[in-house]
């Protein structure tokens, strides 16, 4: 399974390196979303500082949707998914590989978005350990749930519009928990960020286990 995951992740990342869709489209899109949030709150700097974690994770969610759609459009466009199904690769390995490739792209994006909220929203970074752990676990949640739902919607003609509709409610608790954990890390709330991190860990475990177990059935149904 792990060998298959590495093979699929390497393939997906190689495709992204060659196509540069993440670099040329997803990253600018996420930065524009942050910028628009800034315009929406205008000159209300205290409010922007308070809202920065939530806006950050909303931008990650939107960009994550694009990354997941891209991850499956390369499989669907010339029928490559049939090749994956016929290859003998373990479905769990395909799931973990595709999720890992999406996660790697999202981590890179989050580094840039973190710089974005520092520059645009004047966020003062603090609690690095909690922020980093939250980012990694939330990314795992977004990637795992995204890949599972991406497979579910892949064979449908309306997948471009259906995927956000399916995925956003599933990831809403992740955005909420990640936002609260970052607010605690940044000293914007008095809550215990590590408890929110624990909740995120539960979500990550559920999404990863569910995807690992169910991915074979999902790609057979497409």
């Amino acid at each position: 399974m792990w060998r298959d995951a590495v093979l699929v992740a390497a393939k997906d990342l190689r495709i992204e390196v060659r196509a540069k869709v993440a670099l040329n489209q997803v990253v600018p899109y996420a930065l524009v979303v942050l910028l628009l949030f800034g315009f929406a709150f205008d000159q209300d700097r205290p409010l922007l500082e308070q809202a920065a974690p939530g806006l950050f994770w909303m931008a990650v969610l939107f960009a994550g949707l694009l990354s997941v759609q891209r991850s499956f459009s390369v499989e669907a466009s010339d029928g490559a998914i049939d090749g994956l199904r016929m290859s003998g690769l373990e479905p769990a390995g395909i799931f973990l590989g595709k999720a890992a490739a999406v996660a790697v792209q999202l981590v890179g994006l989050e580094v840039l978005l973190t710089l974005g909220i520092v520059v645009l929203f004047h966020t003062r970074l603090a609690g690095a350990g909690l922020m980093l752990a939250t980012a990694l676990i939330s990314t795992a949640c977004v990637a795992a749930a995204g890949v599972a739902y991406g497979a579910l919607s892949m064979g449908l003609r309306v997948r471009e519009t259906l995927l956000p509709m399916l995925l956003a409610p599933v990831l809403a608790p992740v955005v909420l928990a990640a936002t609260q954990a970052w607010r605690a890390a940044l000293g914007l709330s008095g809550g215990d960020g590590w408890r929110w991190l624990g909740l995120l860990g539960c979500f990550a475990a559920i999404y990863l286990a569910g995807g690992t177990i169910g991915f074979g059935a999902l790609i057979e149904e497409t």
Binding site: L7, I15, A80, D82, S87, G88
Partner: protein, 257 residues
Amino acid sequence: MVLSVRLRSAVALAGRYPVLAGVDLDIVEGEVLVLRGPNGAGKTSLLRVLAGLLPLSAGEISVLGLDPVAESRALRPQVGLLGHRNGLYDDLSARDNVRFAVRASRLPGRSVDGALDRMGLSGRLRDLPAGRLSAGQRRRVALAALAARSPRLWLLDEPHAGLDSEHRSLLDDLLGDVAGEGATVVLASHEVLPEELTSRRMAYMAGGMVVEGGGPVPDTAVTDAGTDGVVPAAETGGAVTLRWHGDGQGAEVPSVA
């Protein structure tokens, strides 16, 4: 005589529409079978059933001695399927596409360059992104990926599509060679085929059934698709009652048992 493929009264549905409506077919190991028939006759569906991508609703199936759905993990690495689409990643080079197909099948990468050579893909063509290749070149990359995997069963849907005469000959030679080495080839086509292939065994499909050339099974066991008719639920394994039309345009399912 070892059978690679054995189908009995095979029924497959797409929604409620029977794309296979009671197929009986035997294919012997090392045989090249050319499937002919009009559009919508069920050729593509038959190939997908043999690959295990489309499950049977009724009937019996054995492919390389395995059930294509229940034992798909064991079967699929031994089967190569080339559909209407090539299954290539546009942003990967021809070589990378073939290499990924080989490594995904847990095979060593030694066969990659030989397979590309075999399909006439040499020089800079190998390193161009597949998305920049012509339709015929893409078809050849997909065929090279199959050749590099050396499957025991080749399922080819219109494999000559987009190929020029030189590369059609390359493909025909390849198919002759792999059959000579013991692999079984099932090729669906309604193009004019070269003599090498027309001299092989032909099976004709219409209305989701093999109406001629299904194999050693008695012809009376193959439902006559020349006229409209009905196969009762009891004869399709109890799953569906079939009603078909003899115009080669498929069948319909008026009721599900």
